[in-house]
């Protein structure tokens, strides 16, 4: 089962390698991992997308909590939540493809943020499925390069992950 784990961790050097080292040492999967400081710069927030049975996810949560610098751990996929990922795609944009790319950008509510006479850079935000759909719709022959940020997640409504 796919899970999205959010955690607050002290913003210290080496914090990221403690978390990633834990996953590799114990053989857990990481699908994506994003990290950046929060509004309180002494803390970073991480979003980890992982897969595993209920037993494994329980162990992952416990092992993360055991890390001395980890302040809080929540499996936000246990209830209603929002996931967003940012993708930048550089596409070939010549001839009739130039108009086609613009149209696709509008349909997916993406934005063209860089233009040359032969290419566009398109910015798109959404959940994983939307980003995958966009790539599928354009087709591999026109894609020059893609970069994805990995997922950021947040709980819906009153649920707040805070100190």
């Amino acid at each position: 089962m796919r899970h999205v784990i959010s955690l607050l961790i002290e913003n210290e050097s080496g914090a990221l390698s403690r978390v990633s080292g834990l996953f590799s040492a114990r053989g857990y999967n990481i699908e994506s991992l994003t990290v950046a400081p929060t509004e309180d710069e002494s803390m970073s927030r991480m979003t980890i997308v992982t897969t595993g049975s209920d037993d494994i996810i329980e162990q992952i949560t416990k092992q993360l909590n055991k890390l001395v610098e980890v302040i809080k751990v929540v499996d936000i996929s246990e209830s209603a939540h929002i996931e967003r990922e940012l993708m930048l795609v550089k596409v070939r944009a010549t001839g009739k493809d130039r108009e086609e790319m613009k149209r696709m950008t509008e349909i997916f509510r993406a934005r063209i943020i860089d233009v040359t006479d032969a290419s566009y850079v398109i910015e798109l935000t959404g959940n994983q499925a939307k980003l995958d759909a966009f790539i599928g719709a354009i087709g591999p022959e026109l894609i020059l390069e893609t970069v994805r940020s990995g997922i950021c997640g947040i709980g819906r409504g009153d649920r707040v992950l805070k100190l």
Partner: protein, 569 residues
């Protein structure tokens, strides 16, 4: 008061009431050694190899419940320490390791004796720090001691670059530690304890299984009270020996791969299992799928939530300090009129006594050749069961655990989790420093002892009257045993030729060496050794080469699938 970083390090150790630092100097820690030279409160023990420094500090911690402290230099000093750190980590031993590092400006430049110590040790410490500012030394060391001794204990490493140890700042030792990310739960949940107690009182076939956590949290007294109040059978793991008196009738011996028949059968066929400070290790329960086949309710008390429901599903988890939780159990039991059902308990004990009658620890004595088990039995007799016994890793470790009956905690020091050969002698050093007047025996083998034998020199320098009992069978005994049983008797690289004459080697270091070849001489040799109160005596027992450790549960097999003797093969 303005002090240098190095002086601050030593002042911090003084504030923590550290009696001994085990270490080895080198370029990056020269200023710290200089600060050490100018005081006499913290005493330094110069070892002969950094691995032994960490093991000795670890042994000191195991024998006392204080935090062990080691000091090593950068690069090879730190890498040599890694085996010791990992050993302590696997057994949750409270330790602080201070390592030197190249100057901050040289970090990342592939400098002489530079290694990423924080990176290398990260997976085998409870936590570690690289101190980049002299103003952070005092608070970091304060935190290191706090982390090492609280919660689930473990080693904490503090890496200090040379320039940081030279810089100066105002020294003040923080009185308190506040860490928003670290607050271990100590008290158990009263409701869960009530639930657990009810299960225990209604059990028809109850069993208590305890591990190293009981020793680490100094809970032997509370455990003994509870076990006696309930009248239940009890087993202590390899790490938990001495948690409950081994000579008591309720004690069934050690469980697991080389555990007793009665302990393993009771573990498997009980209907309620109370696990305390133990972690259902693969060497204890064998195959977890086989263990789960028999229905039983499991109550698990542990300070570390990640140990609960890791290898077996637990019905009543109780997170908390073992000693604290056991006292809560006792209070609730005192307040309740309910007691275990006597008839059910009597029937269960009848069954256990039947298992006990198999006498699984018997072995064939010989008048010609020394049996290793016999040496341990005599060691127990000669020391009145009151020695601190350390061991290395292998057959001799199992025989010591099986045949020396530990009635008290912190008398048995061995590497249970990592299984590190070479710990025996340094552990004995740490224990002897901790308890100068007490008999300390190191049970070892001719292979293990050679992994840290250079420490005989340290023992001479500090006049440590350790008694080394070398069970010399000229084989890597446990490897040989597995090759005999599971590899068709192909003894690949397990025979050791060209061994030194250990008695003469000990004499070369300035100690007393005795070679013992006949069973009739074993007791006399032991009495002579323990009679020499001021000397280290190296007893080189020539033992039966082909003796195996039984009972045995083969790796991956179920706990009840035991080989009781060579006749079962």
């Amino acid at each position: 008061m303005v002090l240098s970083g190095a002086e601050i390090v030593i002042r911090c150790l003084q504030e923590e009431k550290v009696e001994y630092v085990f270490g080895y100097p080198g370029g990056s820690v020269l200023f710290i050694y200089d600060a050490l030279f100018n005081q006499d409160q913290v005493r330094h023990v110069l070892v002969r190899h950094e691995q032994a420094a960490v093991h000795a500090a670890d042994g000191f911690a195991r024998a006392t419940s204080k935090v062990g402290v080691a000091l090593v230099t950068s690069g090879p000093g730190a890498t040599n320490a890694v085996t010791g750190i990992a050993t302590a980590y696997c057994d949750s031993i409270p330790m602080v390791i201070i390592s030197g590092q190249v100057p901050t400006a040289a970090i990342g430049q592939d400098a002489f004796q530079e290694v990423d110590t924080v990176g290398i040790t990260r997976p085998c410490v409870k936590h570690n720090y690289l101190v980049k500012d002299v103003r952070d030394i005092a608070s970091t060391i304060r935190k290191a001691f706090h982390l090492a001794r609280t919660g689930r204990p473990g080693p904490v490493l503090v890496d200090i670059p040379k320039d940081v140890s030279m810089q100066k700042c105002e020294f003040e030792y923080p009185a308190e530690v506040a860490m928003r990310s670290y607050n271990p739960v100590l008290k158990g949940h009263q409701g869960q304890i009530r639930k657990a107690l009810q299960l225990l009182l209604e059990a028809r076939r109850p069993m208590i299984y305890t591990g190293g956590g009981v020793v680490l949290s100094d809970a032997a007294e509370a455990l003994t009270k509870l076990a006696r109040a309930l009248g239940f059978p009890i087993t202590n793991t390899l790490m938990g020996l001495g948690g409950y008196p081994a000579s008591d009738r309720q004690y069934l011996g050690m469980p697991g791969m080389h555990g007793t028949y009665e302990a393993n059968m009771a573990m498997h066929y009980c209907d309620v299992l109370l696990a305390v400070g133990a972690r259902f290790d693969d060497r204890v329960i064998g195959n977890p799928a086989h263990f789960a086949e028999e229905p039983r309710k499991i109550i698990h008390v542990d300070i570390d939530p990640s140990s609960i429901s890791k290898r077996v599903k637990v019905d009543v988890p109780i997170v908390g300090d073992v000693n604290e939780v056991l006292h809560q159990f006792l209070q609730q039991l005192d307040a309740s009129p309910a007691r275990p059902e006597p008839d059910a308990l009597a029937a269960w004990w009848k069954q256990i006594e039947e298992w006990r009658r198999r006498d699984c620890m018997k072995y064939k004595h010989s008048d010609e050749i020394i049996k290793p088990q016999f040496v341990i039995q005599k060691l127990w007799e000669v020391t009145g069961g009151d020695a601190i016994v350390t061991s290395d890793v292998g057959q001799h470790q199992m025989w010591a655990a099986q045949y020396y009956r530990f009635d008290q905690p912190r008398r048995w020091l061995n590497s249970g989790g990592l299984g590190t050969m070479g710990v025996g002698l340094p552990y004995a050093m740490g224990a002897q420093f901790a308890h100068p007047g007490k008999p300390v025996a190191c049970v070892t083998g001719e292979a293990s002892i050679q992994m840290c034998i250079q420490e005989l020199s340290t023992c001479k320098q500090f006049r440590l009257p350790i008694k080394i009992c070398n069970l010399n069978n000229r084989y890597l005994g446990m490897v040989r045993q597995w090759q005999e049983l599971f590899h068709g008797g192909r003894y690949s690289e397990s025979y050791m030729d060209s061994l030194p004459d250990f008695a003469r080697l000990a004499e070369a270091y300035g100690h007393v060496g005795l070679r013992v070849e006949k069973p009739g001489d074993v007791e006399g040799a032991l009495r002579e050794a323990f009679g020499r109160k001021d000397d280290l005596v190296f007893l080189d027992f020539q033992v039966d080469q082909t003796e195996n450790v039984y009972p045995m549960v083969q790796g991956g097999k179920g706990l009840t699938d035991m080989i009781l003797s060579s006749e079962d093969l």
